[in-house]
Amino acid sequence: MSNILLQALGLSKHFNRVRAVDNVSVDFANQEFFALLGPSGCGKTTLLRLLAGFESPSAGQILLDNKDITNLCPAHRPLNLMFQTYALFPHMSVWQNIAYGLEMENCTKMEIRERVGQIVDMTQLTDYAQRKPASLSGGQRQRVALARALVKRPRMLLLDEPLAALDKQLRTQMQLELKRMQHEIGITFLVVTHDQEEALVMADRVAVMNRGRVEQLATPHVLYERPRNRFVAGFIGAMNFIPGRVVEHGIEIAGNGFISARTDDLTIGDDVWLTVRPERILLTVERPAQAEAAIEAAVFDIAYLGQDLKVHLKSKAGSIDIEVRVTSTEAERNRFFPGQTLWCSWPANQASVLTC
């Protein structure tokens, strides 16, 4: 347990009657890259602000190195926050912005000059040090905000939607850059984001939040392969949800009969969803002889996306919507067309059953 840096224990925050954060407990390890992922209004920003000290929790504790810092003001927490709007001081130059935090620590002028110089070099801001924030591009402002927080040498850096204000290309580039930087500096990064790809690309561990609660906390791989519930399954990547009822050794799907699936922990007779990722479904003209799970369906739309094709089908019985991803090369072999009847099949181990 010595690897734990910060702990949130049963944290809650109520605004009037709204539970923005609802009994959340999370441990943040030393040197990890952690992401809080969720739709807007899920409480992820409030949780970040509780950790930073801008809100005081309605219940719960925050421990840093096992010491209670719940009532410490932001200035006294060895964490720094990078704001979504960057919150640069508009009347100060880049250099002054970055030096501000060290002046508050009463560092000597020489130390300030040295540390600011270092971080300005590291974030490639040397040429802009004397400029005001208003004359910088979005990417440069983001780097100033980062430098201003990092120069304080915090134990943990909190980043509130750090890439939301950048355009798409810069965002992809900065994802790698942030990851590299975290690795180099070796401090814990906690990123709040609503963008699942961003979270998957950057983070070692991701907590998926919804309605103030943590729905699942896991590595990107586990989140994608073994989502715990419908919300996580639908929020991370695309997913087919096929409604059915648990029977022995599988699921009974209305109008489509029995489909074999793992049903170990399930109660027979329960309503469940059988979930399969679109890219794990095979499309064939004949029912595959060996198929453990297959549904007959008609193509109603084919969308070309470059790398692959998105085929939308409706099952013959029960009109269940099924989305299938097919690589472009595969597509050329098969030549799909609307109205075509096909079999959707998948190995039983590629589907999982969710009860909620």
Binding site: F54, P74, A75, F89, Y100, M104, A134
Partner: protein, 263 residues
């Protein structure tokens, strides 16, 4: 669209010209008459600055101008400090502020004559002697809500995350105010001060009621008012023109500051 826009644009333009004429012709007449050599409203006999020169020879007018500047300067300083802090308080305690907001707005639109009577009654009740100091207090009361309103528009554009960033970087409340908040809102505060100064220079009825007896605390608008009892003279036109241009200049700068500060 294409064609009808052109047509309806010229109708709109004509309308604009007419309304502006309606609004501004009386002002232009005033300025012209202040330059009229003949001194009669109906006969134009060439331009002169004599009427302006005459103003600067009148000790009564010069003393009124001095009083006006004293009242305006002091009431502006007081109202700016109090009003700015008030604006920050109101913007902070947003939850309380629905009724407080209404009260502040109400203060701005209390009829001047009502405020004048209220202040006079109040001073009388306290047995306060009237004079320049009572005008200064009155103008401070009168100006606070205006200052507060201007500063608040500035604070609306103010990204409060900047203040949080300052706390996050280790600064306290006072340091944050001195090094972050104040420098950022300063243009708005100056704009508010210029507005307050102008309002005070122009204000007549409150000053008139709270000045007490005697010439010693007469302000410029009161001076104009007392001169006009004997009819509108070219001197009055000249003085009105000066007061107006002075106000316009201040407000021009105030507007510029406010716009710049809104960026």
């Amino acid at each position: 669209m294409v064609k009808s826009v052109t047509k309806s644009n010229s109708v709109a333009l004509l309308y604009l010209v007419l309304v502006y004429a309606f609004l501004y012709i009386p002002i232009l007449v005033l300025m012209l008459l202040s330059l009229n050599k003949s001194g009669l409203p109906t006969v134009w006999s060439g331009a002169t600055l004599d009427w302006y020169a005459a103003l600067f020879r009148s000790t009564a007018i010069l003393s009124a101008a001095r009083n006006t500047l004293i009242v305006a300067t002091l009431s502006t300083i007081l109202a700016t400090v109090i009003g700015t802090l008030l604006a920050m308080g109101v913007e902070r305690g947003k939850r309380l502020s629905n009724s407080m907001e209404a009260l502040l707005f109400a203060q701005m639109i209390i009829p001047d004559i009502v405020l004048a009577i209220a202040l006079l009654s109040f001073f009388t009740l306290l047995k306060f002697t009237l004079g320049l100091h009572s005008i200064i207090i009155s103008h401070t009361v009168f100006n606070i809500a205006f200052v507060c309103a201007v500063v608040r528009t500035r604070l609306k554009h103010f990204d409060s995350a900047v203040v949080e960033a300052s706390y996050d970087l280790g600064a306290g409340v006072l340091t944050t105010f001195r090094r972050i908040t104040l420098p950022i809102i300063l243009p708005g505060v100056l704009a508010a001060a210029l507005l307050a100064f102008t309002l005070s220079v122009d204000e007549f009825i409150i000053a008139y009621f709270t000045a007490g007896a005697g010439q010693a605390s007469t302000t410029l608008p009161m001076q104009i008012y007392s001169m006009i009892r004997f009819g509108v003279t070219p001197e009055i036109n000249a003085m009105a023109t000066i007061v107006m241009l002075f106000s316009f200049t201040l407000l021009f700068f105030s507007q510029r500051l406010e716009k710049r500060s809104a960026l």
